[in-house]
């Protein structure tokens, strides 16, 4: 009876009309997810997965529903260029697909790539499995919101056996607008049997703003498929960005994920992986480098479900000034996933007395003959190393930055694409205290 009044955040989003697709199952799913979002609102810190990320301040903010001017926003793409990638790309500005900025012509054989809005108009049925879901967990508020309101996103399919040579880039740009607004993107990616793809997901900003972006991605790898997924997150300083990528790996599929988190005021990144087929393998490498009052929360959830699966995750975090980092790495080796190998290492560096990083590795094993290792540390720059560098004439600030950069860079050493690796290093260096 005594339902509390919805927070300004919820109320503002409920004001907006749902996107209408005219597809019965989709409109129903959108409505029901919105109702669930409205009823539960944002999670509080009593929800285990939101323990270190309080949303009280966000709950008081109002975001306009999307950007009616998104098509007209002036955006200079050269600012976000990735050296070496001039392959297919899909560009979104404030959540709206921009055909004029995208590169979708002459797609290589075996690759199909288009905006979700178009896929829904042409043939929605194959998307039903991905888009008809209801989110039921207490921590699912943003997934619900995304399911209800995302009118666009990416549909990417690689045909069985196709090896796509050029990396595909998905670029999400936040552009300054008259008011802070909310945008939502829904991605569906599928690699057929034995298919291979390199995918770059990039979040950038063309000017200061405080938008809210949500992204939900389903990435399915059929038997023996191979995916390299790089995520470069350099959102606006005032931005709020909540992403969830769910990976499903069939037998002998392999995914290598590299994540660099630099931007945003409030960022949540959930990476869920299900090693569902025998012998599937997942390698994840990630770095977050934070400063100011940034709050960045990374949540890895890895489930080993099949025989002889392997996951290896290495994450590094750096927090300067008053920044706050949160890392949770939860691994479950389910019954039947015998002979699996799960390792997770998270090391963090605090560059200031006011910075904070909370890390929590969790490991649950229900299978036999499992090799598992996990560990997490939070520390400071090594005083002896610092003195060694300074004693050779390197000024303190530069010495600190050399050590910090070394701490982060080692994580990307195994990235095979050298230009991408160098680009990540360059982005990182610009970000670290100089």
């Amino acid at each position: 009876m005594s339902q509390p009044a919805p927070s300004p955040f919820v109320a503002a989003l409920l004001d907006a009309p749902l996107p209408a697709s005219g597809i019965g199952w989709l409109d129903a799913a959108r409505r029901e997810n919105l109702e669930a979002f409205a009823a539960a609102g944002l999670p509080d810190t009593r929800v285990e997965t939101w323990k270190y990320t309080a949303l009280r301040a966000l709950a008081q903010r109002r975001f306009a529903a999307g950007d009616a001017q998104a098509d007209a926003r002036d955006v200079d793409l050269s600012a976000f260029a990735l050296p070496g990638t001039d392959g297919p790309e899909l560009v979104f500005v404030n959540g709206a697909f921009r055909a004029d900025l995208s590169r979708l012509r002459d797609l290589p054989a075996g690759l199909s790539l288009q905006p979700l809005s178009l896929s829904l108009r042409q043939d929605a049925e194959p998307l039903r499995f991905a888009l008809a879901g209801r989110y039921r967990e207490a921590g699912d508020a943003f997934a619900r919101l995304n399911a209800a309101l995302a009118a666009d996103g990416v549909v990417l399919r690689v045909a069985a056996g196709a090896r796509i040579a050029q990396p595909v880039r998905l670029l999400f740009i936040g552009a300054p607008a008259e008011a802070d607004l909310a945008w939502h993107a829904r991605n569906v990616v599928e690699l057929g049997e034995g298919a291979e793809l390199a995918l770059v997901e990039q979040h950038a900003s063309s000017g200061e703003q405080g938008h809210l972006g949500t992204l939900v991605g389903d990435i399915v790898l059929r038997e023996g498929a191979k995916l390299r997924h790089a995520v470069l997150q350099d959102a606006a300083e005032g931005g709020t960005l909540v992403r969830r990528n769910s990976l499903h790996l069939a037998a002998r599929a392999q995914a290598a994920v590299h994540v660099l988190e630099l931007g945003g005021a409030l960022v949540r990144h959930e990476l869920q992986a299900e090693l569902g087929g025998d012998g599937s393998r997942l390698d994840m490498r990630g770095v977050f480098a934070l400063r100011g009052r940034q709050h960045v929360d990374t949540q890895l959830a890895i489930r080993h479900q099949a025989l002889g699966t392997a996951s290896d995750s290495v994450w590094r975090g750096v927090a300067d000034q008053r920044a706050r980092g949160v890392f949770r790495g939860a691994i479950v080796v389910a019954a039947g996933a015998d002979g699996s190998d799960a390792s997770l290492a998270n090391k963090n560096l605090l560059l200031s007395g006011q910075a904070e990083i909370d890390t929590k590795p969790e490991l649950e094993i229900y299978a036999d003959e499992v090799k598992a290792a996990h560990g997490a540390t939070v520390g400071q720059l090594d005083e002896r190393s610092l003195f060694y560098l300074r004693s050779r004439g390197i000024p303190q600030v530069q010495a600190r930055s050399m050590l910090t950069s070394a701490f982060c860079r080692s994580v990307f050493d195994d990235l095979p694409d050298e230009t991408l690796r160098e680009h990540l290093f360059a982005m990182l260096s610009r970000r670290l205290p100089a």
Partner: protein, 255 residues
């Protein structure tokens, strides 16, 4: 060049240097010997400017400036070099990159032009020959995976590249095989010049067979308690430090 007067220093509240005085002139080689825990490395660290070493009394002047007022990097640029007793491994920082950054920041602070990578490479090649270090080591991270002896040789190699005015070598001879010892000695002798001075901390007379010191000092309980020429080292070798203790007045304690 270096004038230490009545130096008192504390580490973690404990007084380690207790009135140490020492004068070093350009071109001189001074050997400092003394029992474990006497304060030899502490002296090196205080001179190089390490945090946590609190000077409670006394003064150190280097070429007329108050050395203790300078940051470690400023001391390096002024020409002070410390070869560490235990060089630290720094994963992720490339040896060559580090050394070039070090040389160029020093040069910049001295108002000299920086070396580009070609010029730097030429310099490195030349110095490597003297030290017989394989250039494979240079492509690794600083000291990472180096053997004990390789670390020590790398210290001398860095000294050769940076060309300091005052080099403090803290037990650079410890842990070296006989060939490496000769190479290190060669490296040091090649650097000897009328403008450059050395402070060599060692436990072994043997090093002094290869690098002939002008003075030998005994540092015990935070003070220089005995000074002499190279024959003092021989006497110590024969009689141990107990002899010094009985020998009477600390030489540098009259502050």
């Amino acid at each position: 060049m270096l004038k230490i007067e009545n130096l008192h220093a504390r580490v973690e509240g404990k007084e380690i240097l207790k009135g140490l005085s020492l004068t070093v002139n350009p071109g001189e080689v001074h050997a400092i010997m003394g029992p474990n825990g006497a304060g030899k490395s502490t002296l090196g660290n205080v001179l190089a400017g390490r945090d946590g070493y609190e000077v409670t009394a006394g003064s150190v002047s280097f070429d007329g400036v108050d050395l203790l007022a300078l940051e470690p990097e400023e001391r390096a640029a002024a020409g002070v070099f410390l070869a560490f007793q235990y060089p630290v491994e720094i994963p992720g920082v490339n040896n060559t990159y580090f050394l070039r950054a070090a040389l160029n920041t020093q040069r910049k602070q001295r108002g000299e032009p920086e070396l580009d990578s070609m010029q730097f490479l030429r310099l490195v090649r030349e110095k490597l020959k003297v030290m017989r270090i394989s250039d494979e080591l240079l492509h690794r991270a600083v000291n990472e995976g180096f053997s004990g002896g390789e670390k020590k040789r790398n210290e001398i190699f860095q000294m050769a590249v940076l060309e300091p005015k005052l080099a403090i070598l803290d037990e650079t001879d410890s842990g070296l095989d006989i060939d490496a010892l000769k190479q290190v000695a060669q490296g040091v002798n090649a650097q000897r010049s009328p403008q450059r001075a050395f402070l060599m901390i060692t436990h072994y007379q043997r090093l002094l067979d290869y690098i002939e010191p002008d003075f030998v000092h005994v540092l015990a309980d935070g003070r220089i308690v005995e000074s002499g020429d190279k024959t003092l080292a021989l006497k110590l070798e024969e009689q141990g430090y107990a002899w010094v203790a009985e020998h009477g007045e600390p030489a540098g304690a009259k502050a």
